[in-house]
């Protein structure tokens, strides 16, 4: 993944609670075997509606999405993260997030900034007041800022997630530094494997 230090740009307010991953990217899009091109499917069931906020020209080119509580709940589809990033978002700000979505985001470098609900409301008010206002999500300093308004709020990031974002580290590479411990665990575990249950064609071997 690419290193991320700061995301800055316009922000778009999505004032809805419980935006689940089925809304972010409907299942029709999950048939694809590629990892790119999902931006066209982002919120596709809502985008037909001309009044949907992503169709509002004042927010065109936004890189920060500001959403309601429990953003990204539901299905584990990482396609939701791919769609948000492919569309151009680099950060999502909300009062709370679905667990798996949060995890998936951290693997791809989509910055998840959790703020209190009242702070999110303030931020939304600032954006709506002037959609051209620059919003800054600073990973290194763990701050969300609206410089033109002198507004800033800290957000929390797990130390490891922050390091990974800042350095663009690959999780698999990090884990494989513990190769020796994995191998030694494997010699002592008694958890059963699938060995001997199925033949080459996947049929159950009688025993």
């Amino acid at each position: 993944m690419k290193a991320v230090r700061v995301i800055e740009g316009r922000a778009v307010p999505l004032e809805r609670a419980d935006v689940d991953t089925d809304q972010i990217i409907p299942s029709d899009w999950l048939k694809r075997v590629e990892r790119t091109g999902f931006g066209r499917g982002l919120f596709s069931e809502w985008r037909d509606d001309p009044s949907f906020v992503l169709n509002d020209a004042r927010y065109a080119g936004a890189t920060v999405l500001v959403a309601g509580p429990r953003f990204g709940t539901g299905s584990s589809r990482e396609h939701a993260v791919w769609a948000l990033m492919d569309y151009g978002f680099g950060a999502v700000i909300a009062p709370s997030f679905g667990d798996i979505f949060r995890n998936n985001s951290s693997k791809q470098g989509l910055v998840i900034a959790q703020l209190d609900a009242t702070d999110v409301e303030e931020l939304v008010a600032l954006i709506k007041d002037d959609p051209s206002r620059l919003v800054v999500v600073d990973v290194e300093r763990m701050q969300v800022e609206v410089p033109a308004s002198g507004w800033s709020r800290p957000f929390a990031l797990e130390a490891m997630t922050r390091e990974r974002l800042l350095n663009g580290w690959d999780d698999i590479g990090l884990t494989l530094r513990h190769e020796g411990e994995i191998t030694s665990y494997e010699t002592r575990t008694s958890a059963p494997t699938l060995e001997g249950i199925f033949d080459d064609a996947g049929h159950v071997v009688a025993h």
Binding site: R70, S75, S76, E181, T193, G202
Partner: protein
């Protein structure tokens, strides 16, 4: 050693390393794979020049995308077909056992793991699907992961993990007649809310849980994610052990007894402390249905559609209004007066043999209302074959239900089984999100017996309304 919860026992046993200042590394005993969340992970392996570390701990099946048409009908959608082929090619390349469409062991990933006996107590199980929590019914720590994590597990057989908080959800006393596992879990999701379980692993306890069959416990654990929890657990007891006896993936004879003795340790210690405890009284429970567009929006079948004006919190009132508009419902309408267009009996929540028996018990000798299309989609080929041996297919067919090939089907509407805009369904699946079963479709989650009764009466109904 200090008293531990079931979760803590499994966690401790699977800790590979706990490096200072980093996430712990957890070993994965079993990785289940399906066609939708894996192709990009296999691509990642190829790009990184990596292999699959433990093909003997990896099992794949086609489920999300498969049509439920007769097997003689080819997969018409070329994009779906390509994805199904990619699964087979990837498994062939990396030496993974795979059950493609039509294979005798193929089915929904969370149905086949348990029925093949490869889901066992005390294991850690992951899959690129949020309903992996289903396997927690066997006291296995099981949760859904994203595609990057799928690649991570394929390459390392481990995952970086934070230890979760523990929550006990206790359902005290016996459940009343007519209340199924689905009703219990809908009540739990309504109580916790869609975010109440976030950060927790939930252990379900109490008499109403102990009384459930393994199928019922799977239904229960399946929907843990609907309350925001990544995993749900039920402790091992003799119900667990008897279910596993004789399954293909478990040993037989003395070796089975030795395994069973070890499994019996996968219970929370008597004096273990949970971070949070939520208690429900089973006597208060009734058959339930969701009325809105998230699974915590639940009402009793005997109830009415809620009124946004009844909620003092303006956010809840506006969410309620938004849901009602999408669902095309007027406040105060009795649930049992709402007509439905489609009934879907299937999904990893309710497509096991016991679910089909329960639904067939209601349908027997009746006929689906002329205004309703009703589908029964068994969870796997094994379930389908057993149902046919028991004659359940004939009961359904005689009653005017469609009897289809196994897969996820209308649970997520990736295959051709979809609602059309404005259609209303009674569905035994787990998600009633906007558009989940097809664009503009209106989903109401119910138990198998409520689904069957609804199909027959053409409006939401409880099974006691259908004379036997």
């Amino acid at each position: 050693m200090a008293a531990r919860t079931l979760y803590e026992k499994i966690w401790d046993e699977h800790l590979v390393a706990a490096p200072e200042g980093e996430s712990a590394i957890m070993y994965v005993d079993l990785h289940l794979v399906h066609e939708v969340t894996s192709p990009q992970a296999f691509d990642g392996l190829r790009l990184g020049g990596r292999g699959v570390r433990r093909p003997d701990r990896t099992l794949a099946t086609a489920d999300h995308n498969v049509p439920t048409d007769p097997l003689s009908v080819p997969v018409k959608d070329p994009v779906s077909r390509r994805q199904l082929e990619a699964l087979e090619e990837n498994c062939e390349e990396f030496g993974i056992t795979v059950f493609p469409r039509g294979h005798e062991n193929q089915g929904i990933v969370h149905v086949i793991g348990p029925e093949l006996g490869v889901t066992q107590p005390g294991m850690t199980i992951v899959c690129g699907d949020s309903h992996t929590s289903t396997h927690g019914a066997f006291a296995a720590l099981a949760f859904g992961i994203g595609t990057s994590e799928v690649e991570h597990v394929l390459a390392t057989q481990t995952l970086p993990q934070q230890r979760a908080k523990t929550m006990a959800v206790v359902v005290e006393g016996p459940a009343p007649e007519g209340v199924s596992a689905k009703d219990i879990v809908l009540a739990i999701v309504a109580t916790l809310g869609t975010g109440g379980g976030a950060g927790y692993v939930v252990e379900y306890r109490g008499q109403a849980i102990r009384d459930l069959s393994m199928e019922g416990r799977m239904t229960l654990c399946n929907m843990s994610i609907e309350a925001g929890a990544r995993a749900g657990l039920v402790a091992v007891d003799e119900t667990t052990i008897e279910y596993l006896r004789g399954r293909p993936g478990v040993a037989s004879g003395d070796e089975f007894e030795r395994a069973a003795a070890r499994w019996r340790e996968f219970v929370s210690d008597d004096d273990a402390v949970f971070d949070q405890t939520v208690t429900l009284d089973a006597a208060d429970l009734a058959p339930y249905i969701t009325w809105g567009t998230n699974p915590a929006q639940v009402v009793a079948l005997d109830g009415v559609v809620p009124d946004p004006a009844d909620f003092s919190d303006p956010d809840v009132a506006s969410t309620t209004q938004r849901s009602l508009t999408y669902m095309g419902l007027a406040p105060g309408t009795p649930i049992k007066e709402i007509p439905v267009d489609v009934v879907f009996i299937g999904s990893c929540t309710n497509s096991r043999i016991e679910d089909l028996r329960a639904a067939a018990g209601v349908a027997r000798g009746h006929h689906v209302a002329p205004t309703v299309r009703a589908l029964v989609v068994p969870g796997s080929h094994r379930v389908k074959r057993q149902a046919e041996e028991e004659g359940l297919d004939q009961v359904f067919l005689a009653a005017g239900f469609e009897w289809r090939e196994p897969g996820c089907s209308m649970c997520l509407g990736m295959n051709p089984d979809q609602l059309t805009p404005g259609q209303r369904s009674a569905s035994t699946s787990n998600r009633n999100f906007e558009g989940r079963q097809g664009r503009g479709g209106r989903t109401h989650l119910v138990s198998p017996v409520v689904a069957a009764a609804t199909a027959i009466l053409g409006r939401f109904a409880t099974s006691d309304e259908v004379s036997s």
